[in-house]
Structures are given as C-alpha cells and as structure tokens.
C-alpha cells in the first residue's frame, strides 16, 4: 500500500507544482464577477443564474483539468523516459497506473472541494437557498470526472498526449449526446441502424446520468436510488476502462 499512496501523493504534488490550484482562484474570480454583474442586469432570476454559473463554471473547469491531467500523465512519463525508473522498481505496472490515476483524482477532488466550498459560501452569502439537488450536482460531477479521467488514462496508456486529449474531449461531447444517439437510432426503420445506435450508446459513457445541474436550477427533487445507481454506473465504467488501460500498459514494450 505504501508505494501506491506515495504515487498518489506524488501525483498531487506534481499537479500542485504545475499551479493547478490557480484554477480555484479563477473560479472564485468568475463567481465574484458573475454574481456582481448578474445582480445588476438580471430580473428576478438571481438564484437560478448564480446556481447555473457556479455549477457550470465548476464543471467546465474541472472537466478540462481532468482531461488535461489524465491524458498527459503516462505519455509524459514515457516521453521523459522517467517510466524506466518506475518499471524497474518492485511495483506492478497495474499498481503504478492506478496509483497515478488516484493521484490525479486526489488533485481534482481537492480542487473540487475548494470550489464547492466557495460556491456554497457564495450562495449562503446571497441567501440563495441550497437544495439537495445542489449537493447532488456537485457530488455527481465527481463521478463524471472519474469516468473522464479513466478515458484519458486509457488513451494515455498507448497514445500520445495530443491524441489522448482529443479523444477524451470527443468522448466528453459524445457521452453527453449518447442518449440522443440512442433515441434517434430507435426511431429508424432499419434494424441495423437501431442496433448500431444502441451499441454506440452502451459503449460510450452516458455522461448525462451524472448531470444534476438542471435539477439544481429548478430545485427539483432527487432520489437516492437514482443517485446511487448513477454513482455505481460511474465507478463500474471507470473500473472497466482502468482494467483495459492496465492490460494495454502491461503489454507495452518500452525498449
């Protein structure tokens, strides 16, 4: 367990050295500016706008960060040849990969906690009501970040940073549209297209399952069973992708 924790903490330290904490400052600035501006220019929808801006900015920043961090980590190790140091240690490649993912997620989680604290503090300051849907939106974002990081990691285990980032961004968009692909395909008269649409839907992560921002916007009720199922879906998808990444990484020859 020791080397695993060391790897995770090291990943966090590395990200901190890369000044990723600056994102929290940018988030705080964005929140402050938007609330000040919105107070001046909106009519009767302050609670809605502060929720949308806060959750939207948090999600966008963390998604981009997760994609950037995860897609570059392994390929950078390979490019810098530091991977040779790691593979020569008495540590399995799988543990190395999962340790790096844990480090990545530790960074993202710490930033998310800071952003969430800022967001809720801002809402309390403006006496904007906080509902369970707000907590669900923040919590489910964390699972979405796990899935996206896993996609980045999988790609990073066998391709360059550029390709990994491109594919992960594409998966992010496709993942939010996958339910539409399913619905559109099921309207087709061709059985083959229906099957293809369903296959695409099941292969891609359905990221809309983690999107509780509309619920927060409308203070809509959320059920714990729905949340649990989405969280389990996220962790299962991550598990599959990480397992695939480990298999591919194990087969890779670094000579």
């Amino acid at each position: 367990m020791g080397p695993f924790i060391a790897l995770a903490l090291n990943g966090f330290r590395e990200a901190r050295r890369n000044r990723v904490t600056l994102l929290v400052a940018i988030f705080a600035l964005a929140m402050l500016m938007s609330t000040t501006l919105v107070l001046e220019i909106t009519v009767g929808t302050f609670d809605r706008v502060i929720t949308d801006v806060g959750l939207g900015a948090m999600s966008l920043m963390l998604v981009l960060l997760a994609i950037f961090l995860s897609s570059g980590l392994i390929s950078r190790e390979i490019e810098r040849r530091t991977i040779f140091l790691m593979v020569s240690k008495p540590l399995s490649r799988g543990a190395f990969l999962v340790g790096r993912l844990a480090g990545n997620m530790l960074t993202v989680t710490v930033l998310q906690l800071l952003m969430a604290a800022l967001f809720f503090a801002m809402m309390s300051f403006y006496e904007s009501p906080i509902s369970p849907a707000h907590l669900a939106a923040v919590g489910m974002l964390w699972f979405e970040l796990w899935v996206l990081s896993a996609v980045g990691f999988l790609m990073s285990s066998f391709s360059s940073q550029m390709v990994s980032a491109f594919v992960t961004v594409s998966v992010y968009f496709a993942g939010h549209l996958s339910s539409d692909i399913y619905k559109l395909a099921s309207k087709s008269e061709s059985g083959a297209i229906q099957a293809l649409g369903k296959a695409v839907y099941y292969v891609l992560p359905d990221l809309s399952r983690f999107n509780y921002r509309p619920h927060a916007t409308y203070y809509a009720p959320v059920t714990s069973s729905e949340l649990l199922s989405a969280a389990a879906y996220g962790m299962a998808f991550t598990g599959v992708l990480v397992a695939l990444a480990v298999v591919l990484f194990n087969r890779r020859d670094f000579r």
């Binding site: 919105v38 220019i41 909106t42 009767g44 809605r48 706008v49 949308d52 966008l60 809309s208 509309p214």
Partner: protein, 300 residues
C-alpha cells in the same frame, strides 16, 4: 558567453504596453443604420455544443433578452426581444419567467392604439402555456392579447374560463369570461358557464352574483335577437325601425323580447337595441364603444 541582460525585452515590453494602453478603447458602437434582426445561433447547434450546460447557455440568452428590452426604443427594437426569448425557451422550455416577461414587454403601442409585436407575444404565451398549463399569469396575459389585440373574444373567454378554475384565480375572472363570451356572440357558452358557477357557488353572495350574470346574459341574448331583426328590417327598408313594436307588428320578431328584470326594450339613436333595466350592454368597452346609449328615453 553573452551577458543575459533583460533590458531590451523590458524596454520592448514597456513600449508595447504603452501602445496597448493608448490604443485601448471600449467596443465600437455599430453605425445606426436600418434596423436588423439579431442574428442568433441555431438552437440545434447550441444543443450540440452546449450539451451539459444548456441551462447556463439559456441564462446567457435570458440576460440578452433583458438587455434587448432595456435597449429598445422603437417597435422593431422591441421586436428583437422575441428571437432572444424564443431561443431561450427553446433551449430551456421550463424557464417560465421568460414567457411572462417577454409576453408582457413585446406588444408595443406605436401611437393611437396601433400595436406592434402582438403576434410574437401571443405565440410566446401559447408556447409557454404548453409547458405551464396551470400558470394563471400566462392565461390572463394570453386572454388579454386575444381580446385586446386580436379581437378573438371567444378564445379569450375560453382561456379565461380555464384560468378562473386555477388555484388563486381572482374572483372577477369568471364574470369577465362570461362578458367575453357575450362579446363574441356566444351568449349560450357564457350562460352555461354562469349557470355552472351559480350552481357550484359555495356562499349565497357569490351565487347571487352569478344569478345576476345569468339574467344579464339572458337579456343580452334577447337584445342580440332584437338587433338581428333590426338588421333584417334595415335590409328590407333601408332605414332602422322606429321601435320594437314595429318589428313585432311587421313580423321581423317572431315573439316579444323578454327582459328577465321586467323592463322594456327600445331602439337607441345609434340604432342598437337597449333595455330600460340595463344601462350598459354586456360587452367589452372600448374608446369607440362605451356600451350604453347616451340619449336614453326618459319613460315609455
């Protein structure tokens, strides 16, 4: 080895910074030429690109809706509110405030009670009512548009009838609905509504109000019957009849008109039918139609 002086870079940077400060200016105002509708992205594109953030995108266009309202001065500029509000509600159909806000600000009086952008306002309110079938404000706004701008009294009455059954509806709505029914010529629909309301009234005072409305509507029905016979008389002789008895005598009226309040009927100088017991006709009053006869005959 050459010395590592940063002076040239600093100097160049300072020079460029000064140039930037001097050149910095607020965004240019577009020359005020002929008015052009705002060119907005298609909602399909926004749905594709902004998936996962649609509420945030809708918020942006909502803020633009408010800003376009604030900027507007002319009727066509108020018309710009429609594309913004339409796009906002396309992106987020449950954004209820947008329908009410834009539906209220769009109709613009261009002078002498000539209104612009009324179709857009009505379209938006109809769109909103599909999403919020129990929204009282939207019902009332739509009924107002239909009666005041489009003169579609029957539909306005139907909208108000639905609104009057919503929780929190003001007590005058059913009465207004019956008046609109009468105005549209559907006296029977108004009567049916008034009778239902009288029968279902929980207190005696409300029941009496609707019973009175039933009597008013019955009288209005009789007045319309007399008016129809006046029209037929005018077609036949080219002038209005002198009194109601003439209509009866010549057979233009098959039976004497019945006033539930036991009053008599007369033909006013505007050649419309009136009753002694009801000073004003049951219709929508406008600057051109006050609904009553100034030269009321004293006693007959």
């Amino acid at each position: 080895m050459r010395s590592r002086t940063s002076l040239p870079a600093l100097l160049a940077g300072a020079f460029c910074l000064s140039a930037l400060v001097l050149l910095a200016a607020p965004p240019r105002q577009q020359p005020r030429g002929p008015h052009q509708e705002p060119l907005l992205p298609r909602q399909e594109l926004l749905r594709l690109v902004g998936r996962g953030y649609l509420e945030l995108v809708a918020d942006y266009f909502w803020l633009q809706t408010i800003q376009s309202t604030g900027r507007a001065f002319l009727a066509e500029e108020y018309g710009d509110v429609y594309p913004y509000a339409d796009l906002t509600t396309d992106l987020d159909p449950k954004f209820g405030l947008v329908y009410v806000f834009a539906g209220s600000v769009l109709p613009t009086n261009t002078g002498r009670e000539i209104w612009a952008n009324t179709d857009e306002s009505t379209r938006l309110l109809r769109k909103g009512l599909k999403q919020f079938p129990n929204d009282l404000k939207m019902h009332v706004l739509l009924a107002y548009n239909l009666s005041a701008f489009h003169k579609q009294y029957q539909e306005a009455a139907q909208v108000l009838e639905r609104a009057s059954k919503l929780p929190g509806a003001p007590s005058y709505l059913p009465a207004l609905a019956t008046r609109l029914y009468a105005q549209s010529g559907s006296v029977d629909s108004g009567l049916a509504l008034a009778r239902t309301l009288a029968n279902s009234a929980e207190d005696e005072e409300t029941r009496e109000i609707f019973k009175q409305r039933v009597r008013d509507l019955e009288l209005e029905g009789e007045l319309r019957r007399v008016e129809a016979s006046i029209g037929r008389f005018r077609q036949e002789f080219g002038v209005a009849p002198p009194d109601v008895d003439t209509l009866l005598w010549l057979g233009f009226l098959d039976r004497p008109p019945y006033d539930p309040k036991n009053g008599g009927f007369f033909i006013g100088s505007d050649e419309r039918a009136y009753s002694h017991t009801q000073q004003r006709r049951l219709e929508i009053f406008t600057p051109n139609n006050r609904g009553y006869q100034w030269a009321m005959p004293m006693e007959q």
